[in-house]
Symmetry: C2
Subunit: 338 residues, 2 copies
């Protein structure tokens, strides 16, 4: 009996309940497991007054006041802005930021995870599409956009709501038949929910819709992607008339390219086709007066950064939220009718 | 006599020559000083076999393999790209990067300089417009775009050549009367040479030119800047006809804004007015196929990063070059006639 320990650990719970550690973990994380196990584990948790806190254990007493940030690069406008706000948030709390741009050397990511496990940095905030990356549940790690496991908090925009908002906006603006165009990682990640949200919105509003989805698993070059989307759009234009009147693109970058394609095909944006992107990219990131690159679902980048730092450094919560979705907004950017 | 010391220091030279440390420094750095002093100091340097290497002294044996990078922010496209390439170059050499975005807290910069002086980082690469920043000559520091003192290497594009190239290009493309528009720091910095280079090119090619220069010493908002340039341009348009046919803008961002203004005033770019910017900014930094935002003088960002890292970590040179200017190129981006 371990009731006299100051702080009960997960293995105390397993012992008390007479089950394996894995079973305790499954129960805590709501994964499917027999009813009898759920009862036993919950009883042990109550008895031992156990608090799930494996994550906070990573933040040891001897802090380095240094946090590693893993980011694919800093030149993509979304990553660039996110890096800036993470830096601002860490600096304000007296932390320094070790930046690792992982595009230039993907092997670096695992090394930073080891550093965190060895307390050479206090933790990691990572936006990574590396499907080889091993992050154990006791590593102080906050993931942006991609869930690892329920012990690793994941922070993202509410991508589902954003997709739905795009569909509803196009419906409000008079569209009847819309397209969804997507390219990107096929890994399990939060931005993939944009598609599901868009479908949901189309169905709710009675919009007819069609999807064209290119996966990066196919190893497409920029040129391949453009060519495939161009062919898809061309196949839907008959005698200069498109059989669609609205498009939701998975990113502003894709919307930029698609707008150019439509104009090359003799279609006017937004008169003939209305276009909504995703991200909230400005023409000039450093000048608000330059406006948005297209009508867009704006990601709350500053909040994503702030929440990620909060969750990493916060030490008093007994359970870290496994997934935090932050609200997005629509902004007009010249590719929809006002 | 100090000839038996393994390594002579600057103060040994001063003692041998019978002059002050300041005088030795002036002679080494080619600053004006009496001929007799130059002779004495050079004689002492030869006698002691002295190598100017104060900079390398900062790189102590106990390396941290960590370099601090000071950057105003990561969302301006030039800083975003520069941060990426610095990161790639450091990573390739087994170094980690502590990133400090100084816009969010300017007081941080001095703290990183102290860290470098205390060997908590191996050195600093900084792009800073902080005129309060104190960097002693023995601090391992490489500056980008702004010279501090001759002991601190400064790496920049060849801004003078870029300005001259812009003037020559406009002349080649048939311009007769051109404008130079500038806004930015009034601090002594390398990008300020764009103006002098442009003037030089105009004079060499017989172009008539006029300048409109707004200094940030005047604390102008984005709106103020736009208003002043708009008024300036409007004053030079009579009955819809401009008395100019070419403009060189100090940055691509300004060229973007000026192009929009010209179009609002009913002028066509490049048919009525040709426009050249500076930096080499693409519409989408992460997609080469998106092209340049305007016709532009392209900064060699990857080379600037590589050279800065080289100069910081390089330990075998007896004298570090005080200023390295790297070649720029012209790229067509739709705002000049082809």
């Amino acid at each position: 009996m371990k009731q006299n320990r100051t702080v009960a650990r997960m293995k105390d719970v397993a012992e008390e309940a007479g089950v394996s550690l894995g079973t305790v973990s499954k129960v805590i994380n709501g994964k499917p497991v027999g009813e009898e196990y759920v009862r036993k584990v919950n009883e042990a948790i109550r008895k031992l007054n156990y608090h799930v806190n494996s994550y906070a254990q990573g933040l040891k007493a001897s802090r380095t006041y240094t946090v590693a940030v893993l980011m694919p690069n800093t030149y993509h406008p979304f990553y660039a802005m996110l890096t800036y706000w993470l830096n601002a948030s860490l600096t304000r709390r007296g932390y320094r930021m070790l930046l690792c741009c992982t595009d230039s050397d993907p092997r670096q990511e695992q090394e930073y995870v080891y550093m965190a496990q060895q307390n050479k940095v206090d933790g990691i905030i990572g936006l990574t599409y590396n499907d080889q990356l091993q992050v154990s549940e006791d590593t102080p790690f906050v993931s942006i956009d991609r869930p690892f496991n329920p012990q690793i908090p994941c922070v993202a925009s509410d991508n589902f709501a954003g997709g739905q908002m795009a569909a509803e906006k196009l419906a409000d603006l008079g569209c009847r038949k819309v397209l969804f165009l997507r390219t990107g990682s096929s890994l399990n990640n939060e931005p993939n929910k944009r598609k599901a949200g868009f479908e949901n919105g189309c169905i709710a509003r009675g919009l007819s819709y069609e999807m064209k989805i290119l996966s990066d698993g196919e190893w497409l070059t920029e040129e391949d992607i453009e060519e495939q989307f161009r062919a898809f759009l061309a196949s839907r234009i008959h005698d200069g008339k498109p059989d669609f009147d609205g498009i939701f693109c998975v990113t502003d970058s894709l919307a930029f390219i698609v707008r150019r394609m439509l104009e090359e095909m003799g279609l006017r944006v937004p008169e003939d086709v209305q276009l909504i992107g995703f991200d909230g990219t400005r023409w000039l990131a450093h000048m608000e007066s330059s406006g948005y690159m297209c009508s867009t679902i704006v990601q709350p980048i500053e909040s994503i950064a702030e929440m990620s730092v909060d969750l990493l450094l916060e030490n008093s919560m007994s359970i870290k939220p496994p997934l935090v979705c932050l609200p997005v907004t629509f902004a007009e950017g010249g590719t929809t009718r006002q």
